[in-house]
């Protein structure tokens, strides 16, 4: 009986039970959207957009930027492995790959930008200034400053790694 169910359904009855519970609870939530007086068409549109925004926009875009920025390094890396992901003639000095030291601050800066885009790009409501008594235009400066600090710290960390690799001598 159970094995017959398994072969028809593709998993145990418990799997079906868990998913049915999921759809009942989610359905009750969706019913709230529908029965609520506000715009449920808008909710569905935003829901679908939210569902695909990472897969169709964020990930392809960040992947593309990464590919363009590190094209040369990748090629070099493909030929010689991680250690030589820099121009070869200087490989002895720079045994440390610079890629993570660019990528990490860029990722953190990008995270702050997408999270706080409404205030950084001044998209927040027109009444923002009156609403909070705060001016809207300080945020872009703060974001640039944090970005500069992040890249600066990363550059220091890179310099330290290079110094350590040099101190260790050619291997």
């Amino acid at each position: 009986m159970i094995s017959r169910f398994r072969s028809l359904y593709g998993a145990s009855p418990l799997h079906l039970l868990v998913l049915l519970a999921c759809f009942v609870i989610a359905g009750a939530g969706a019913a709230g959207w529908y029965l609520d007086s506000s715009d449920w068409h808008g909710v569905v549109e935003w829901f679908v957009a939210a569902m695909v925004v990472c897969d169709l926009v964020l990930f392809p875009l960040s992947s593309l930027v990464d590919r363009i920025v590190f094209l040369r390094a990748r090629r070099a890396g493909a030929e010689n492995g991680l250690a030589a992901a820099v121009p070869r003639r200087r490989a002895l000095v720079f045994r440390v790959s610079a890629i993570p030291y660019v990528r990490v601050p860029a990722l953190l800066s990008g995270l702050l930008l997408i999270t706080f885009a409404p205030v950084i790009l001044r998209r927040a409501s027109l009444g923002f200034q009156q609403h909070t008594g705060n001016t809207n235009n300080v945020y872009v400066g703060r974001w640039l400053a944090i970005t500069a600090v992040l890249f600066g710290l990363s550059a220091l960390a890179y310099a330290f790694s290079v110094w350590r690799a040099r101190a260790a001598g050619p291997q």
Binding site: I25, G29, G32, W33, L35, C54, I99, H131
Partner: protein
């Protein structure tokens, strides 16, 4: 990137032969992806998400949506049930629950993004549907991803006073949370074993040794790239970056929530101050934004107090009543809070003044044109620390802080502490 194969002798794409592009395992080359990465991120989300969900539901209870004017919607959903009323102690209760909701929510955002990235190839698994079980599970994943991003995006936008959507935030965010709770519960249940295996085993080691990870009958191919590109960054650095990102965002919420000397940490938080000296603390709405002018709340201003009888009181008459001073927080739904010393008349004294002696709710109105109504429950009205505040930190209220009078009540959301109050209507509740 591998080019599409154009060999005409090959059979067309079918159930066993995926179409070119992302449907082929060779397309996904990042050496960072793998079961252990996904499992670590999944564990963090499994621990953090319940905190955000529970504090979110608590916030809804704190709004007392079933009372009088507070309804967030039509209250027709079976999910509009409330198992407890909102207490008035400790006074910082809402400041803490909402601070956690916003701060932990922000901290989980980068974890969610990288978790989604780690399972990105699964979107293109081939064949797309292998069994009814697989189809249903994929549908639940669609609900999970959609509701998670919906909740995060709407929450993060509103935190910044950004309302680009056509719907009412409060109810959409609340009902969206239930879609998320259903989908998250199912996913956590069905994937718990996969996560444990991912944590216990070093996925890379297993696959390097040619051992296929066990228990992937439903989830198809491994998350590990079939032909990985050379590593340019270690998995540890990626996880460190996620941690640093979480910390950066956590500070944005926590700085505004803890306030005081830590408020500067909230670099992107809307923590404008309204005035200087004793009235130098944050607000959500200035008098100018609310359309309040000194004339509207000048000498002609009167407070309507309605109960068994009606009265009109001037600010001088209110000042002549017994004054009480308490330290109470303003805790905004956006996550920031600030503790201040308020002085004013007890709400329960005002109830007595209009011959309401039994347990009563109060519905408050502000002079703001097109403003909203708020109802506070019997616990709030009866509490000795619930005030109609006339002053703060030893001085008169400033216009931005609600002059001539504002409601302040322990542990209620900031939006329920009406500023520029024009009317208090006490409605007795028969026990």
């Amino acid at each position: 990137m591998p080019l599409p194969e154009l060999d005409p002798t090959r059979p067309p794409p079918g159930p066993t032969r995926p179409p070119p592009g992302p449907f082929r395992p060779g397309f996904w080359r990042s050496p960072l992806r793998g079961p252990s990465l996904t499992a670590v991120l999944g564990l963090v989300l499994l621990i953090g998400t319940p905190i955000v969900v529970i504090t979110g539901l608590i916030s809804n209870v704190a709004y007392q949506p079933l009372l009088g004017a507070n309804s967030i919607g039509t209250n027709l959903s079976p999910l509009d049930f409330y198992v407890f009323t909102w207490p008035t102690r400790p006074v910082w209760l809402y400041a803490v629950t909402e601070g956690l909701h916003v701060s932990i929510g922000l901290a989980l955002f980068p974890v969610l993004l990288v978790k989604l990235w780690s399972v990105f190839p699964r979107l293109f698994e081939w064949p797309p549907v292998r069994s009814p079980a697989h189809a249903l599970e994929r549908l639940s994943i669609a609900l999970l991803v959609g509701s998670a991003m919906f909740e995060f995006i709407t929450g993060i936008f509103v935190m910044q006073f950004y309302y680009p959507f056509p719907f009412f935030f409060t109810s959409a965010h609340y009902y969206g949370a239930w879609v998320f709770i259903g989908a998250f519960g199912a996913h956590a249940t069905l994937k718990f074993g996969t996560m444990r295996r991912g944590l216990r085993t070093r996925g890379e080691v297993m696959e390097a040794a040619g051992v296929a990870p066990s228990g992937v009958s439903l989830s198809g191919a491994s998350l590990t790239a079939a032909s990985p590109a050379p590593a340019t960054m270690s998995r540890r650095v990626l996880l460190g970056t996620v941690g640093a990102g979480s910390l950066l965002l956590l500070l944005q919420g926590a700085g505004g929530s803890i306030g005081g000397p830590f408020r500067f940490l909230s670099l992107f938080g809307p923590h404008g101050t309204a005035g200087s000296g004793p009235v130098d603390f944050p607000i959500t709405e200035t008098a100018a934004a609310a359309g309040i002018t000194p004339e509207i709340v000048g000498a002609a201003w009167r407070l309507d107090v309605v109960g068994a009888k009606s009265m009109q009181l001037s600010r001088e008459q209110l000042l002549a009543m017994p004054q009480h001073t308490y330290d109470l927080p303003i805790a905004c739904t956006e996550g920031w809070s600030t503790m201040q010393r308020w002085t004013g008349v007890r709400l329960r004294d005002l109830a007595t003044l209009v011959d309401v002696h039994e347990a009563a709710m109060v519905t408050t109105t502000s002079v703001q044109a097109g403003g909203y109504l708020v109802t506070l429950g019997t616990e709030q009205v009866a509490d000795e620390q619930s005030l109609l505040a006339l002053g703060v930190n030893g001085v008169d209220l400033s216009l931005d802080h609600g002059f001539p009078a504002r409601v302040i009540s322990p542990a209620v959301p900031g939006t329920h502490c009406h500023k520029w109050v024009s009317k208090l209507e006490f409605s007795p509740v028969s026990a």
